[in-house]
């Protein structure tokens, strides 16, 4: 019998439904494990308790402040890193010598856990948003710069030649030919840059901030309020997933329009 036709049975086997069912199953298992005493409450309280705390926390004042602070930090770090990254990428493409000299630095920075530099930044800039911003925007900058450079280098030489034969001005060449030709590869770099800005910000808040989602998670951890800590972890995960879904949608749309 052909089971792949659109019968009643196949409806339940749609991948999104299966995914949702798996999440529910994991939550149910964790709940049972926590309630049955298989897991210490200090390691992980039952998910139902977490969700209850989550609702209370989301309604509270400090949470909103934390969310706004972290959101603003991520947005600034991404804006700064993205802009500088784009400029570096364009520079490396436009002046191949500078690219040849500096590109390996950028690539090795890509593989380096930039966060280990926090004690130095702390010593130089003190506690506050500056070191967080520097780390997060540096992390965001690297994939943006590398993708921009690769995207511009991948443009077939016929396109600038066409622009020249049509007597395009420099601005027209950039705006109407080079930029749109590069966009499908620049956007994934921006998406990665955003993700790095989030990771950098949260991780730095964990260790050297007095506000923000990352700070609050660490604070609850240190004060043994484990249910609240999990609630914050859940919030961060949910926000990250929503943003990621949005970015992926944006990326697919751009690619479709730009292909």
């Amino acid at each position: 019998m052909n089971r792949t036709s659109s019968g009643g049975g196949t409806l339940l086997l749609r991948p999104p439904l299966v995914r949702a069912a798996l999440v529910l199953a994991v939550v149910a298992v964790l709940e049972a494990a926590a309630r049955g005493g298989l897991v210490e409450p200090l390691v992980m309280p039952p998910p139902s308790v977490m969700f209850a705390r989550l609702v209370e926390i989301v309604r509270s004042g400090p949470f909103v402040t934390d969310l706004v602070v972290t959101g603003a930090t991520v947005a600034t770090a991404f804006g700064l890193g993205g802009l500088v990254g784009l400029m570096i990428g364009i520079l490396f493409w436009r002046f191949p010598f500078s690219g040849a000299v500096f590109e390996p630095y950028l690539v090795s920075m890509y593989s380096m856990p930039t966060i280990v530099f926090y004690p130095i930044l702390l010593a130089v800039f003190g506690l506050g948003t500056k070191p967080i911003m520097i780390i997060a925007s540096t992390m965001a900058l690297i994939p943006v710069a590398l993708n921009t450079m690769v995207a511009l280098r991948a443009i077939p030489p016929t396109l600038p030649k066409l622009a020249r034969s049509l007597n395009c001005t420099r601005l027209q060449t950039y705006r109407k030919v080079l930029a749109p030709a590069a966009v499908p590869m620049v956007v994934p770099g921006l998406v990665l840059g955003f993700i790095y800005a989030v990771i950098g910000t949260i991780a730095m808040e964990f260790i050297l901030a007095s506000r923000g989602l990352g700070y609050r998670t660490g604070f609850f951890y240190r004060s043994f309020e484990i249910a609240d800590m999990y609630a914050y972890i859940l919030v961060i995960s949910i926000v990250a997933i929503i943003v990621n879904v949005g970015l992926n949608y944006f990326e697919r749309r751009i690619r479709r329009d730009m292909q």
Partner: protein, 269 residues
């Protein structure tokens, strides 16, 4: 000196190579493409045909000599020349109309007018019904029609075509060549057409200029005395075969030289 058409006057092109040496690509090429004439440039690969076309298009400054179009020295890309390239030069984020109208857009023609004119040319090149498609939905031959339409829309006096059908398969190529002739009969632009296909050159042209291996000179200019408009049976005619054999005889020696220089023939004893 002749006032109309394209006059090439002892054009010489020298490249600086990466190791600081110099390479003479073109030497002393002279010739006239009279108004409304279809001239093909044919030669062994790497002989500088495309280089010569870039010089006429104002994209490359010759080391010696120069090009005069309608009495004016070429010093850069001009409004009365339009180029068609071998590689796909469509802008993939634009529709067919947007691509065809691109040249006029750069020239500052308003949207309404340029798009209306683009639609007419799109019909002329046989792409009616594809106006709002994107290049990814088109075949290679259709993309080259878009490039030809874009060039035609600029209403140039001369079209410079750099192996425009080089990347297409043989059948598409013959068919689109015939289409090009139909459009040419209607518009009667001057054409300078680079190709390495002998049959294509003879079938399309009024004149075939055969170039030598590097440093290239024009070895011979062969007038093609086949009737216009060229009928589908032209390729089967006796005269067509005589002309293609004549071109081949001239080309054979040069191709051997070029291939020998590149090491391609070293394996044969």
């Amino acid at each position: 000196m002749q006032r109309t058409g394209v006059v090439l006057d002892r054009v010489g092109v020298v490249y600086t190579t990466n190791d600081g040496g110099s390479l003479e690509a073109v030497r002393d090429v002279s010739g006239v493409v009279a108004d409304g004439r279809f001239v093909s440039l044919i030669g062994p690969s790497g002989c500088g045909k495309s280089t010569l076309l870039d010089v006429v298009g104002g994209l490359l400054r010759p080391a010696r000599g120069g090009v005069v179009i309608n009495g004016e020295q070429v010093s850069g890309p001009r409004r009365d020349t339009a180029m068609v390239f071998q590689e796909d030069s469509t802008l993939h984020w634009r529709t067919v109309v947007g691509n065809v109208a691109f040249g006029l857009e750069i020239a500052g023609v308003g949207r309404r007018e340029r798009e209306a004119r683009a639609r007419d040319v799109i019909k002329l090149v046989g792409l009616a019904g594809f106006e709002d498609r994107h290049p990814r939905e088109l075949s290679g031959g259709m993309k080259q029609r878009v490039a030809i339409a874009r060039a035609l829309l600029l209403d140039p006096r001369i079209m410079l075509m750099d192996e425009p059908f080089g990347a297409l398969d043989q059948q598409t190529r013959m068919f689109i060549g015939r289409e090009l002739l139909r459009v040419w009969e209607e518009t009667r632009k001057s054409v300078l057409f680079v190709t390495h296909d002998i049959q294509e050159a003879v079938y399309l042209s009024d004149e075939v200029w055969v170039m030598s291996a590097r440093p290239s000179v024009i070895k011979s200019k062969i007038a093609v005395d086949l009737d216009r408009p060229r009928a589908p049976g032209t390729m089967g005619s006796r005269r067509f075969h005589e002309l293609t054999s004549e071109v081949w005889e001239l080309l054979r020696v040069e191709s051997e030289k070029a291939l020998d220089a590149s090491g391609e023939l070293r394996t044969t004893p």
